[in-house]
Symmetry: C2
Subunit: 195 residues, 2 copies
Amino acid sequence: MINYPNGKKAKKVVPEEKISTRKNFNAANRGMALENDLNLSNEYYRDANLAIITKRPTPIKVVKVDYTNGPKIIEAFFEKQSTTDYNGVYKGRYIDFEAKSVAGKTRFPLANITSYQFKHLEEVIAHGGIAFFIIEFRGHDEVYLLDAKILLDAYYEKKKSLTYEEIKEKGFLVPRLLSPRLDYLPIVNTLYFTE
Amino acid sequence: MINYPNGKKAKKVVPEEKISTRKNFNAANRGMALENDLNLSNEYYRDANLAIITKRPTPIKVVKVDYTNGPKIIEAFFEKQSTTDYNGVYKGRYIDFEAKSVAGKTRFPLANITSYQFKHLEEVIAHGGIAFFIIEFRGHDEVYLLDAKILLDAYYEKKKSLTYEEIKEKGFLVPRLLSPRLDYLPIVNTLYFTE
């Protein structure tokens, strides 16, 4: 889940009526635009027969279900994704990535990634999979693909963040097109398939 | 989601009190035992550094969220998984499978698998991924691994089901161990990695 919803943010958007509909819930979530662009790009790749990459659903802990008219969940909570948002197959190989959108212009705080996600991507690499991050700087209207090892190194060096300049230097700018909206697959191809 | 919950089944289990807790919800779902065994087996494989295979969360359509005390979902609905339950990486390659549990002893009805899931697994194969089914016959207390192509062929031949004997013949019995509970990875290794 990009920019996982939290109480504070949502309250800003729906201050009076505390009960939000799906629409408000989405609007509250600025990172949803990145998620939407990636989902559309993945649909494009699927239709063009290039790769099968899917988004993992947001994990939700179901507490109460009303079965009166078919199952309707009446109490549930969002859970943190313990792995990453996206995975799939490209040229037989396993691909796994996390997408994050930040509002600021100067740095990407590592606190955006959980320790579970770092561990998961590290294991993916250990098993021969391809692991990276898609990072959007909304302040620059730019999206970068960054190999997971770069953020993993920063994580183990206990850095608090990577600067925009570091990501610009070590990452790859993802072209925004009409379709696919974020054309990251050619970068994956260059980075991981030309040995 | 194994044996996706539906109104009818659930009503049998919770006839008087129409509102069920998580506990009843699980108990209503006989296939959950298979899911649980697979999740534990995948944890074992992860800890043993053999493979990273995760379960996709059940997709849930969130309609209303109450933000009074942090986000609490108060109206939501189960959605059908448009892909499969499990995917991951083994020796660099992409693995994707669907797990199903049937109560009967004689046949596996293809209606257990959606056309989206057949399409998804077909695409996975086309992109060089490994695709199979894990099928439990509870009446026999047996679990089989069946290459996806076998069920895909039956699907395109418009068969209504595969018999227990066909699955016994064309599939591979998954050993039930103490740990991992369902040791399917050696079968994957033999079937897809010895060329």
